[in-house]
Symmetry: C2
Subunit: 348 residues, 2 copies
DNA sequence: GCCCTGCAGGAATGCGCATTCCCCCACCCG
DNA sequence: CGGGTGGGGGAATGCGCATTCCTGCAGGGC
């Protein structure tokens, strides 16, 4: 039980230790290390820094947070980091956070949407400075209300909240112009000569998926093309969902010359399905996606899609929560850009 | 300045508020909410819970951490979440953390390796319970020593540390059998009839890249095939690195019938380069990668690779830091599995 | 009927730090 | 040379909570 074992037990160096070593008071040590409004005489300042250095002092962030009444924590809630869409957004957010000296804690719902609630609550417990909820998929009215309540609670406690890609809850939001992007895409595809489309629409309860479907329909309509309900297939928002939906479409027998999957990952699944069914690409079927996932830029034929500045979405949300809150929820719109590639050749 | 504005100012409900509302002491409220060794009379217990509920009480995690002397934070340090390799590992770690009620904070070095140091130091400041460093690329001897020192410091303070994929610093580590996997891959490719290989070796200062190159050479040697130094091209460990290396190889003029890129992302870049140069795949050149990145499973021709259980790497590291520390650093070995696909057809 | 034991509630303490308040001292002005 | 002023050091306070210690009370054994 001597001093030695106490140190081994994990007792870390405190500010008081530093102060003693420097021969100053705790207050002075604190001021020297943090640079408060009060100034410290240069020689003492120096001594404190030297003492801290030699003792390997590391300020206890918890204690600082408590004394200051705020933290540098920002929570990031998303459905799955392994999904390239989300991981890109996360990367953007993290990059932006670093510039602001913020610490990012990440939580994934992995499809269980009620966890969004738990995480926001947990982050309130952490007294996180802000929370960013990416691509909330909450649809259930009750759940949505509870999430909205939790968000209010979080804000009541002085925290900032931003969403990426939702519009149900009144809060700062980075809105992706899914509808506009899909519309532009449809118009471009019509410009290539297509007159008959199929849509792999993903989950019908996802706002993002719905918006893209709607926008695509609008764009087609604008070019005088109607999309038959029979040519719209719902399913998972994933690669396998795209695969399955494409198979179903083929089984039904479609006359479409071009299929639009509401995201790139699904489009790739659809391409796999087409190949498995012996359809030649792109001659046998044109395929388009959405997002322009970087990792998928080398699939063949190269995928026509709508490019989204994913990292900017995350960075933009971070920027919003760093700013002072506005009276009105802020909306930051992000546009996509149609990128035509080989998967949708000019129709002969 | 009435009560109302005080609440707006962000003052949150404290345990004391709950205790008062329930008509009990702070100690009792604490015991009721946390279930300590001491028990609370059922009716009081009930009252406290009800009060906490109605006040929307959320315990201040910082204060709890300070009072308890420990946190539930685990830090995850990696180079880039947007990279599918790392994001998969992160997903595994996060999933495992959730089961243990741990909060994951993530930091990315984005290629600046010295940040690993800063982050480990910062996590010590957070009094994180553990830190997991994934794929440390630190090579510089000085930096490495400082990282090792920082790690010791962290452990001194009572924290747990684990690495994924390194072997320079004595600490719990999840080791990927890069060498063995690459060796097995080379043997399999030789089995397909190849006798002349090229290697896109990535960054020469990355242990992972080097091990894979070495292993591949060993495997080939075992089948009696020597790989010429001229057929090994170094470059970035990224898609663009793979592309550039492949171009360089083609410009040099290689006689290889099969090119091994030390990771899938590079392999995809190489495939793009080959296509751009008019080489037909897989007939004109066989291509193999490493990792079996999920997002890339649908490239054409389907990529032969070594499948790594990426999520398990993250989860395994998390499991290690949750366990009690051993006297000796633990090593957890993870094997890869050769997956032959169409990108490496049987040679005629 | 009394004392001892065990249980449970409450007051008090301390975690590590920022910050406020107090006070001393040096310097400047008159 | 005295009083005023300001800069800066140090003691004390409090952040929100877990936990220890103290105390009161009920129940059981003699």
């Amino acid at each position: 039980m001597g001093e030695r074992s106490e140190r081994i037990a994990g007792a870390s160096v405190t500010l008081l230790d530093v102060a003693k070593a420097a021969g100053v008071s705790l207050a002075t040590a604190s001021r020297a290390l943090n640079g408060s409004t009060r100034r410290v005489r240069p020689d003492l300042h120096e001594r404190v820094l030297a003492a801290a250095e030699s003792l390997h002092y590391s300020a206890n962030a918890q204690a600082q947070a408590m004394a200051r009444g705020r933290t540098n924590i920002v929570g990031l809630v998303l459905s799955d980091v392994a999904d390239p869409y989300f991981s890109s957004i996360a990367a953007g957010a993290i990059r932006a956070a670093e510039e602001e000296q913020l610490v990012v804690t990440m939580a994934c719902t992995f499809g269980r949407e009620e966890r969004e609630l738990e995480y926001v609550a947990a982050l309130r417990g952490q007294r996180a400075r802000a929370v960013i909820v990416v691509g909330s998929r909450v649809q259930d009215r009750g759940l949505l209300d509870r999430l909205a309540a939790e968000v209010r609670e979080f804000e009541q406690a002085g925290g900032r909240v931003a969403f990426v890609s939702q519009r149900k809850i009144p809060a700062d939001t980075v809105v992706v112009e899914n509808r506009g992007g899909a519309k532009a895409l449809a118009e471009a595809l019509c410009g290539l000569g297509h007159r008959r489309f199929a849509v792999l629409a993903g989950r019908s309860d996802l706002l993002t998926a719905r918006d893209r479907t709607t926008g695509f329909r609008e764009g087609a309509a604008r070019a005088g093309v109607r999309i038959d309900a029979a040519d719209v297939v719902y399913g998972g928002f994933t690669r396998d969902g795209g695969y399955a939906a494409m198979i179903e479409l083929l089984d039904r027998g479609t006359e479409a010359t071009c299929v639009f999957a509401v995201n790139d990952v699904m489009a790739v699944g659809a391409m796999a399905a087409l190949r498995d069914r012996g359809v030649e690409l792109p001659s046998g079927m044109a395929v388009a996606g959405f997002d322009d996932i970087a990792t998928l830029r080398d699939v063949t034929p190269a995928l026509t899609t709508v490019r989204l500045p994913l990292e900017e979405l995350g960075a933009g949300a971070m920027a919003m929560v760093v700013q002072e809150p506005a009276e009105q929820p802020r909306i930051r719109r992000v546009r996509g850009e149609v990128v035509l590639r080989e998967s949708t050749p000019l129709l002969a």
